[in-house]
Symmetry: C2
Subunit: 507 residues, 2 copies
């Protein structure tokens, strides 16, 4: 049964149990695992590792592409195996340990981790664990539903463990495009000039002698945990598609727009879903994770090509797409996240980038990561890679959270992942703020008028007017009241009670 999955016969002897493979990983090591937005993670060895972690002292630094599926981050965290974790995660159990200071989480721009590894500013990587559909004659590895950082992990690691996943069809060969920038100072341009350019090779080339173990698995990716579009996300999608329709009318964009990027999560998926109800056509994506909406747009004949680093689908879509992958293959490419998120390519192609904010301030600075400035949600992910270099950088969010007790638009963002310079549009179900070419005072007026929930409009208008009158400046702020809404939520469970929070200034 290995013949068609492990072509080099010399490697058959490397097939071992997950437990045996996990023995290559020792206390204190740095391990690079495949897996990006719950797609394509190694499924068996990490569990064996967790099992060992429950019995013996075993702490590792875990690098991945992005988040892992199948509750692996939870399992590893609960087994106390994780000393350090980078560059992204989205698991509630791990998040809890990170916020308790038990796991050191190094949140990074997703395009940058491998730059730091290659230049030895991070690392070295001791062991790489990569999920694959097959190992080819030349020993090269064909990844599965994500590429993430797997190629660089496999190239840099001292030892490589390959997990062959039998649930995935060998037809996936050819889906991936592995391109690694050459070493500085001899690095040349990345030759991608269109989303559908293939510039690399279809598998991860490594010296087969570094393959230390091979494990056979038959477990599927977990499905996406996203919510279907609701009334509010539909409104957000509507505002954005209306805006884009106007841009087309003004001649700033053609009716195929520009290559689209859409962030992780329910809102971004819902917004992309909204493109189904438009006249745009021949759309393309140059994105990170491809969610249901991408395939809905393919099936509706609206999308012609999508480039990403992973495919993460709902239960409804999962089997259909993966069993039918041959049908989509010519319209898809999966790239290393360094390339899907590369500033060079993003800037060149001129993307429309749609990412989600946890909160934005009235001037358009965006917090995508930290609840109340301290508690990590998931991580910055690729949002910075895309927002900084996009042709049009859009942030979407519902105007309130927690049943209205939190306004997503606040006077002062409690953490800034994306500064005002990187935010062109903010869209909530209330409306769309077009901030291009505006100064901060103008931005505040537009954001408050269009994006804020009516229940918070007076509160924010009062803050702005007071700051403008008493402090002034390019970006008027009252430092003694900047966090009054957040403090009201902390104290009273409701930001609407901000007026009850005393000022901080000593008078």
């Amino acid at each position: 049964m290995y013949e068609d999955r492990i072509k080099p016969r010399s490697l058959w002897s490397k097939v071992v149990t997950p437990e045996e493979a996990a023995l290559h990983i020792r206390d204190g090591m740095t391990v690079g695992m495949s897996g990006f937005t719950r797609a394509g993670e190694a499924k068996a060895v990490p569990l064996a590792l967790a099992e060992r972690g429950r019995r013996e002292p075993l702490k590792i630094t875990l690098l991945t592409g992005a988040s892992l599926g199948n509750d692996l981050d939870k399992t590893l965290a609960e087994a106390n195996v994780l000393a350090r974790r980078l560059p992204f995660q989205s698991d509630p159990a791990l998040r809890k340990r990170i916020n308790a200071g038990e796991v050191m989480f190094v949140d990074q721009h997703l395009s940058e981790t491998v730059e730091m590894l290659r230049s030895r500013q991070l690392g070295p990587v001791d062991v790489a664990i990569v999920e694959a559909v097959m190992i080819k004659e030349d020993g090269s590895i064909v990844p599965t539903t994500s590429v993430g950082n797997s190629a660089t992990f496999a190239m840099l690691a001292e030892k490589v463990i390959v997990e062959i996943n039998l649930t995935l069809s060998p037809v996936m060969e050819g889906l991936h495009d592995i391109y690694i920038p050459t070493r500085r100072p001899f690095r040349g341009p990345i030759p991608i000039t269109r989303p559908d350019d293939r510039v690399g090779v279809p598998s991860i080339a490594i010296d087969p002698s570094r393959i230390a173990a091979i494990v056979i698995t038959a477990k599927e990716d977990s499905c996406a945990a996203i919510q279907p579009p609701d009334a509010e996300t539909k409104l957000i999608a509507g505002h954005l598609t209306e805006f884009l329709t106007n841009e087309v009318r003004r001649g700033r964009l053609g009716s195929s727009l520009a290559p689209l990027q859409a962030g992780i999560g329910s809102i971004a998926n819902a917004v992309l879903h909204g493109f189904l109800d438009t006249d745009f056509h021949d759309l393309t994506m140059y994105s990170e994770v491809l969610q249901d909406s991408t395939f809905d747009l393919f099936d509706a004949g609206k999308m012609v090509f999508a480039s990403g680093s992973s495919i993460t689908l709902s239960p409804e879509r999962h089997d259909q797409v993966l069993h039918d992958i041959g049908r989509y293959k010519s319209r898809l490419v999966l790239r290393p996240q360094e390339i899907s998120n590369h500033p060079e390519v993003i800037r060149r192609l001129g993307l429309i980038a749609i990412n989600t904010a946890l909160e934005a301030d009235i001037y358009g600075n965006v917090n995508s990561t930290h609840v109340a400035g301290s508690q990590m949600m998931n991580g910055i992910g690729g949002s910075g890679d895309f927002a900084r270099n996009a042709y049009l950088s859009v942030f979407v969010t519902k105007s309130t959270a927690k049943g209205g007790a939190i306004s997503s638009i606040v006077p002062f963002a409690t953490h800034v992942d994306h500064c005002e310079h990187d935010v062109d549009l903010i869209v909530t179900e209330q409306g769309l703020a077009d901030l291009r070419g505006l100064a901060p005072r103008e931005r505040a007026a537009v954001v408050i008028d269009t994006c804020v929930h009516p229940e918070y409009r007076d509160l924010l208008r009062d803050y702005y007017r007071d700051a403008e009158r008493t402090v002034g400046g390019q970006t008027p702020h009252r430092l003694d009241r900047a966090f009054a809404l957040h403090l009201a939520y902390q104290t009273h469970g409701d930001m609407r009670r901000a007026a009850e929070v005393p000022e901080a200034a000593a008078e």
Copy 2:
């Protein structure tokens, strides 16, 4: 006298007075002017414009490369000519009007302004005013001591006014490399792979029929207003060169390091000056403004090539370099700021980027622009272009300002231009914090131990410990005390009195 400066005889009739040329500019227009870090600005027409502004209603949107010399921003601001100003300035009189809300200042990443103009997200540009050493036979324009955004302004504007500056030698021809990225979606890679690559043409090609007026001037650039290195900036330079020496020793860098970028201002200049006292050799720069330190490194035989967008020198250096420009020409290139600051090239070359912070917080988020969160100093300039994509992103600052009454390291930055992900090292005269690969809690410990002035160390340590204990999280913050130092400065004129500031929370 025009023969060698205005080669096309057909253009001689366009030579007019500054006042006549200024008549092309009417109320409400958008004007793009040459000028970058006080170098190469048009010197006569803006003054005529200001003169008219004092007599008649005249408000314009002024776009430049960056800051203007010869007090032009002051003169235009005081004549009330400026309705809007972008993307950078550094003039105290204009700053005052910006902070009073009288001039709308759109602070932008310096590489991005022309992207927005070309895609018509900003603009259109009615008139461009460009300083030149000559107009060539083909009507193309040879710029002077800066390129900035001049090429794109001249290409996009309906009318072009050229100021021929007779104080500058025609020998400057060949110093510039004008490259404009092709239009999306047909854009190709920018083919620069080394700081000394020339990829464009030496002059700005425009249809001569769009040259509406030519003005002859004989005024020099103003000199740089920077302070010479002092005891503290020498310590900062020492910490950084020691760190880099160790990186070389560890094999992470060669003894020519990587191409250097150094920001504007006294501190960055002093730091670069510190490279004179090292064993590094064959240094190169891929930077924005080239200051005295670049030429000192040339003369000392330490630097082999420097790429920038402008040359701004002290009174001592100014005449020598400009009169001797032929001697330096083969080791210099001036590029459009879009290219000197382009994320694509910065990332490819892997720069060591050295920029200055106004303040940094204990987690390494940097404020380069807003005093106390509200008052604009200069603007983000190119610091974001460089910091985000550098191989090594360094921020330097003295640990205190205003005689010790302000700590430059604070609990929470009052404005975030550079998020923690874009800041690898923070260096003050106290020491150097190497933040690479650290989680926020670890970053705080290192920053407090190494960078903070001893008078503030306990204050910051207390803040951090209290936040960690009472709030926790990935990035522990007490929102009720986050700005206590700033409020103490506002109330008592001294951040050291932060303990006297009551908390903001409603208990």
